[in-house]
């Protein structure tokens, strides 16, 4: 049993996933049910993204995997190795060199080109799920384009907190029709959902695939008097000095000292290679990290 098929999944499973991807692209933002398979990694750890990647990859691809924006987080390493082993694809940490990028919780800072594909791992694909736990009910709401519940929730946030209290997995409306969960990316990343690359979303446990074709209209839900605002920590990266990237906050001592660094590790490293140095960084050296 050491000899698995190319990209692990059998061909019939890949065909089933491929058909779901095509329907997903034809109906942007609509969640296509698919018969998700049991993968050799736990549900909730990227099985949806892995199945989509397996159906999309060719042996000629260069594959990048990020988790929280970083290439070397353990789950990203694990998924990258899985495809190195089962599909023999080349791998990279450089966003610009990847043809397929699988991601959890981030969109790279560098704009994707039209020859790139990004695959999102999705835990709960249903944007209405936390307002209505029943799948039977939420399916009806999508069918009827009945999204009042979502607006009520956002509005209640404003009356209680003075602001929309959703900071990640911020709901969007795709091409004026389906309200969609963009996966738990920070809302900072939402504007990037209108992009040149092909975006595919896979939710394994919940058995859903959805997609956004390039140049599709993706609008973050908001109100005229409370417009959507992408936010990030009000700092520059302490390593590379980038003023405009999404930042991780690190606790550096036991008296409340903290620093901020790019969550997109490739973006940060590329900038440092170009000579940018942040407040607590040091000039880039080839083997420094």
């Amino acid at each position: 049993m050491s000899d698995y098929n190319f990209a692990y999944l059998d061909e019939q499973t890949k065909r089933m996933i491929r058909r779901a991807i095509l329907k997903g692209l034809a109906i942007p933002g609509y969640q296509v049910p698919f018969a998700s398979r049991e993968m050799p990694m736990p549900y909730g750890w990227g099985t949806g993204g892995v199945q989509v990647s397996a159906a999309v990859l060719t042996p000629d691809d260069t594959f990048k995997v990020i988790d929280q924006g970083a290439d070397d987080t353990t789950n990203a390493v694990s998924i990258r190795r899985f495809f190195q082993k089962t599909a023999g694809v080349a791998v990279t940490e450089a966003t610009s060199q990847a043809s397929v990028i699988q991601t959890r919780h981030r969109i790279p800072e560098e704009a994707l080109r039209d020859d790139q594909i990004i695959v999102y791992q999705v835990p709960i694909p249903e944007p209405l799920r936390f307002l209505e736990p029943s799948e039977v009910e939420t399916r009806k709401m999508h069918a009827l384009e009945e999204y009042g519940l979502m607006h009520v929730k956002l509005y209640e946030d404003i009356s209680q907190h003075g602001d929309i209290a959703t900071a990640y997995a911020y709901p969007v409306k795709v091409e004026g029709r389906y309200v969609m969960d963009p996966s738990p990316i920070p809302k900072f990343d939402n504007p990037k959902l209108e992009m040149s690359g092909i975006q595919l979303f896979g939710a394994g446990r919940e058995q859903r695939i959805y997609a956004i074709p390039p140049y599709t209209k993706v609008v973050s839900l908001d109100f005229d008097d409370y417009p959507f605002q992408p936010t990030k920590a009000d700092h520059a990266c302490d390593l590379c000095g980038a003023p405009d990237s999404y930042l991780d906050e690190l606790i550096v001592d036991d008296v409340g000292g903290r620093m901020f660094m790019c969550s997109d590790t490739d973006y940060c490293a590329t900038r440092r290679k170009q000579g940018h140095v942040g407040a607590q960084g040091m000039p880039y050296e080839e083997d420094a990290a």
Binding site: M1, Y4, Y8, D10, P33, A35, S36, R37, E38, P42, Y43, G44, W45, T47, Q68, G69, D72, T73, N75, A76, V77, S78, R81, R104, H105, R106, P123, S134, E135, V136, H161, G162, D163, A165, A167, Y168, A169, P184, I185, P186, K187, R205, Q207, T231, A233, D238, L239, Y246, E249, L250, V252, M259, M261, S263, C268, Q280, G281, M282, A288, A289
Partner: protein, 362 residues
């Protein structure tokens, strides 16, 4: 100066090596063989086969060994293996009527053709730790008898003869398979039963227990519980007839439940059904009770809002591989989403403070 933390690859390799070492434990103690697990941990093997949806005692035993005895982890290994296996076709329905029973009890009739057969049960053992086993687990001589040739008809068939039990529809349709098509609601009973028989034993036990305590109580009697081996037959198109391809042990439970009727229809008992791989009677009884609770709509009962009546709730939450994966995924890094929440809560608190001080100043 700060150097970013790296080393995910090495950490994973080292973790795997340590895990392998821990799995083996003290090397001064002899290693467990797969055969030992299969023979002496048979009920664990049965649970792994049932919830792994794969009847193969040797593989289940191997999975238990690899999983260090964590049965959900073992079930996971079996499921992930199962999904890669090619499908040659479907068997004919097994005939539990023809089961060679190791155990057969009825709570509704004192005796019936085929008799009450207690079988190898814990039921009447006093739960006292047997310290002898610590030193010597060799079996004592046990009395044996020739297998009975008598037929063991289903207890339900006696009720059926009198028209006392509601009849179930029959048909040749190939039942749906939730491992091949995405679950869609409402689900057919066949699909519900498939989901229940693969479902987590603990989850089903809790659900079934809740019906007994009043959350959609359905007054279940165990009409019959039978455990034994049945032949599995498959139609071979080239031959034009069915041949036996093997034998499996299953546990079947049929409950007889509260009757219903109306002015136009005389009252009839209803039933719940459980069928599980291996010797797994707690699971089979639980399954029958939950099956019965889920049938409220087709039997014209009220929705009492009980968890065990809620098909979507039961079917979406009973699978331990789905549940454990999602539950445990919250230990993965969530720096990014947490950071966005941090910024939001700081902003909201700042605004709230400003408001409070402004109001205080006014």
């Amino acid at each position: 100066m700060y150097v970013a933390v790296k080393g995910g690859e090495r950490a994973i390799d080292n973790a795997h090596a340590w895990l392998a070492d821990e799995r083996r434990g003290d090397t001064a103690i002899p290693e467990l063989s797969v055969a030992q697990i299969r023979e002496q941990m048979a009920l664990a093997v049965n649970r792994v086969m049932a919830e792994g949806s794969l009847y193969d005692p040797d593989l289940a035993a191997l999975a238990i060994k690899q999983a260090r005895g964590d049965l959900i982890e073992a079930i996971f290994l079996i499921r992930a293996y199962r999904t890669t296996l090619p499908r040659f076709g479907g068997s004919n329905p097994i005939e539990t009527e023809d089961m060679a029973c190791d155990r057969r009890v009825s709570a509704t009739f004192k005796d019936a053709p085929g008799g009450q057969v207690l079988g190898p049960t814990f039921d009447y053992t006093h739960r006292l730790l047997d310290f002898k086993l610590a030193a010597d687990g060799e079996g004592a001589d046990v009395p044996t008898a020739a297998p009975s040739d008598a037929a063991t008809p289903h207890i339900m068939s006696f009720l059926d003869r009198e028209g006392l039990i509601q009849t179930e529809p029959t048909g040749d349709a190939v039942p749906d398979d939730l491992t091949r098509t995405p679950l869609e609601l409402p689900a057919s009973r066949a699909l519900r039963l498939q989901s229940l028989t693969r479902g987590d034993e603990g989850f089903l036990l809790g659900m079934a227990y809740s019906t007994q305590r009043g959350y959609a109580r359905n007054h279940a009697f165990v009409a019959e519980l039978r455990i034994g081996t049945v032949a599995v037959e498959m139609e071979i198109p080239e031959l034009g007839f069915a041949i036996e391809i093997g034998e499996i042990t299953v546990t079947e439970c049929e409950t007889v439940n509260q009757f219903q009727g109306s002015k136009t229809q005389p009252p009839q008992f209803t039933r719940g059904y459980g069928l599980v791989f291996g010797m797994t009677e707690r699971k089979a009884i639980s399954m029958a009770l939950v099956d019965r609770a889920l049938r409220w709509k087709e039997l014209g009962e009220d929705n009492l809002g009980a968890p065990a009546q809620d098909e979507e709730f039961v079917l979406y939450h009973g699978d331990n591989i789905q549940a454990t994966g999602f539950l445990e995924h919250i230990k993965l890094p969530h720096y990014v989403d947490f950071q966005s929440e941090l910024e939001l809560i700081r902003k909201l608190r700042r605004e709230a403070h400003d408001n409070i001080s402004r109001e205080a100043a006014e």
